[in-house]
């Protein structure tokens, strides 16, 4: 029982991690707390339905298309909304992403309606035994994807030119600019990456929660909490935070009652921020926020 709770907690946590990492990546390169991150994922899930149902595409053909659209959405938001106000304070940027949130919510509601839709691809709840604990197939599938994405991100940041440039911008945008790094392009790339992660978050979550404009709201908020665990700055910190939240709330849900599931993450964040005001991983953000 306990092992099972932990396993499904890790599975949920890995989905939170997708959002948390996107929040951190965007925040540390652009000072933006992106409230629209969840909506990128929501749009991606709807697009997934469109491609699978209306165009009768295969799952693995749909995935790259959705990723492309989602990245495009990120880039559009950067160009049309964020860039014109890039020089203002973080609160203005934060509120602007709220504007994007409203717009995407409205568009999704308009085009696809408010009621929840089932995702055409679902997974059997058929449990598989892993190291003696029973895990559902869907959870295993999601975890596998999350690990793959984590690996891709790691390789991207470690070895590609763009990834290294991105880290340079994180550390010191002024110096990066002087070193000839195209900061504007990197910021664009940051938003594209947010879209990339959102596409996976949306597609992987869709079979579990059903698709509706509000599907991501709760996940998004948990994603922030996880991001704060990493000090809004550290990607490994955010991933660890997300997994911890997933496990903790699953245990709370299992042993205390379902009502306490949501409260757990926030009890954790209140306690964390009380004792470690800059997050668990003690990395001092370089820029004053």
């Amino acid at each position: 029982m306990f092992g099972q709770q932990v396993m499904s907690g890790l599975a949920t946590g890995s989905l939170y991690a997708l959002t948390a990492v996107a929040v951190v990546v965007v925040f540390r390169n652009t000072r933006v707390i992106n409230l629209a991150q969840g909506d990128f994922a929501m749009i991606a899930a709807f697009l997934g339905i469109v491609f699978l149902k209306n165009f009768q595409l295969n799952y693995y053909l749909m995935l790259p298309l959705v990723i492309l659209c989602s990245m495009l959405l990120g880039v559009l938001v950067e160009r049309l909304v964020m860039r014109p106000i890039a020089d203002t304070d973080w609160l203005t940027l934060f509120t602007a992403t709220l504007g994007v949130y409203y717009i995407l919510h409205g568009v999704a509601g308009w085009v696809w309606g408010r009621d929840t839709k089932a995702f055409p691809v679902t997974f059997d709840a058929k449990p598989i035994s892993v190291f003696g604990t029973l895990v559902s197939e869907g959870h295993l599938f999601n975890m596998a994807w999350a690990v793959c994405i984590g690996l891709v991100l790691f390789l991207f940041f470690k070895y590609t030119k763009q990834g290294i440039a991105m880290r340079a911008v994180t550390d010191d945008p002024e110096t990066a600019k002087l070193m000839g790094i195209p900061v504007r392009f990197i910021v664009l790339l940051t938003w594209a990456m947010a879209g990339f992660l959102a596409a996976f978050a949306g597609i992987l979550l869709a079979p579990i929660v059903y698709v509706s404009p509000e599907m991501m709201d709760e996940v998004l908020v948990k994603g922030y909490v996880a991001a704060v665990f990493g000090g809004l700055y550290s990607i490994p910190g955010a991933i660890l935070g997300a997994l911890m939240i997933g496990v903790a709330e699953n245990l709370a849900g299992g042993y205390l009652g379902a009502h306490y599931k949501t409260a757990t993450a926030f009890a954790m964040i209140v306690v964390l921020l009380t004792f470690r005001p800059k997050g668990l991983f003690g990395i001092q953000a370089r820029r004053e926020i």
């Binding site: 709220l98 409205g106 908020v221 306490y260 005001p277």
Partner: protein, 381 residues
């Protein structure tokens, strides 16, 4: 011990102008100019007062205008409640620089405190207002102490956590009756029952009081201290400002004001259920209203509150379109009026005043009769 100069002793007595060793005629000129400026500023202040009183007078006449029905007063009262809640957010976010996405929590605390008192002890509205406001202020004080070291985005997420926390509690603790909700009897002030129009006046009176409170705050040394903490925390501490005390005070005041709005919000609908108060969208809306209106302007919450509260009313049928329009309008405001609507509307007004002050400064000797009297009195002292 080095001998303190005569000028030093004068400075110690508080007379540095003499200490500055200005030539007597230059000093007199400077003094005259100062009085002229002070005089002009006092006149501006009087204009502010007249303007504000006129605004409230118009608002007070609204329900008795021909063609205005009870439901209209009810709707406007709802907007006023929104504006009051936004004022609370503005105290914290605008003047103290602490971004809050958790004021829906204080709205809930105010509403539930008063609702429970009314249900179990049959209290009337004024008692409810006082109790709800104080309860909210108390929780605000605690929250301020808990989040003492937070700033920026961390504060935003921390306060969001608080709103969720309050939501979970009202959802799950039996006392608050969750989704079943608490129904309230007809509202009473002392012993008199009031209807929609009566409630409108109560809301307007509370609004007048909170506006006065914010006005006094901003112009007092306390308001200066809060703004100093907002602009440069270290420098503020070096000026003798007690960071812990003032941050907590700002939290309490802000929670108090939003708590009052919560009491009104509960009593106007006469039904309080967790469905409404566990929702974090109140918190977000108040923040948006504060930012759109201009959170460091006295009139900001009014404009922002109207903006956020009225948009859904007009577009009741087209819910999705309202969402999209709200988003577009919000982004446009941020792009073209980042300091808020109040800043834009106030621009010509402030330019006019600046010109006037510049003129007074340039021919500083032109002093009104009243200030001349003051000047002669001062010189006679």
């Amino acid at each position: 011990m080095n001998e303190m100069g005569a000028a030093g002793r004068r400075f110690a007595r508080g007379n540095a102008l003499e200490a500055a060793n200005l030539a007597p005629e230059a000093a007199a000129h400077a003094q005259r100019q100062r009085l002229a400026l002070a005089d002009a500023k006092a006149r501006f202040q009087k204009q502010n007062w007249v303007g504000t009183v006129a605004l409230f007078a118009v608002a007070a006449l609204f329900p008795v205008l021909p063609g205005v029905e009870g439901w209209m007063a009810y709707t406007v009262a709802l907007v006023i409640i929104y504006v009051i809640a936004t004022q609370g957010v503005a105290v914290l976010t605008g003047y103290t620089g602490l971004v809050t996405v958790g004021h829906g929590g204080f709205l809930a605390i105010g509403a539930y405190t008063s609702a429970l008192l009314t249900k179990h002890y049959h209290t009337e509205l004024i008692t409810g207002l006082i109790a709800g406001g104080l309860m909210s202020a108390f929780i605000g004080c605690l929250l301020g102490l808990i989040f003492l070291r937070l700033s920026g985005a961390f504060m935003a997420i921390g306060t969001l956590g608080f709103a969720f926390f309050v939501g979970t509690i009202v959802n799950n603790v039996n006392l608050f009756e969750g989704r079943e909700g608490i129904s309230l009897p007809k509202n009473r002030i002392l012993i008199w029952e009031i209807g929609d129009v009566g409630f409108y006046y109560v809301a307007l009176a509370v609004f007048a009081l909170t506006t006065l409170l914010v006005y006094c705050l901003v112009r007092s040394g306390v308001g200066r201290a809060l703004m100093a903490l907002r602009d440069a925390e270290k420098a503020a501490e070096s000026c003798g400002i007690n960071r812990v005390f003032y941050r907590t005070l700002a939290f309490s005041l802000s929670a108090f004001i939003t708590g009052l709005a919560g009491v009104l919000n509960g009593h106007i609908v006469r039904f309080i259920a967790s469905e409404v108060y566990a929702d974090i969208w109140y918190s977000v809306d108040f923040l948006v209203a504060a930012i759109v209106g201009g959170s460091s302007f006295l009139m900001g919450p009014l404009l922002g509150g109207i903006f956020v509260a009225l948009l859904p009313f007009f577009l009741e049928e087209l819910r999705e379109l309202a969402f999209i329009l709200k988003g577009v309008a919000l982004i446009l405001v941020l792009m073209f009026a980042p300091a808020g609507l109040a800043e834009v509307f106030g621009r010509p007004w402030r330019a006019w005043r600046r010109n006037k002050l510049e003129r007074v400064r340039n021919d500083g000797a032109r002093v009104s009769r009243a200030s001349l009297d003051k000047l002669t009195k001062l010189e006679a002292r």
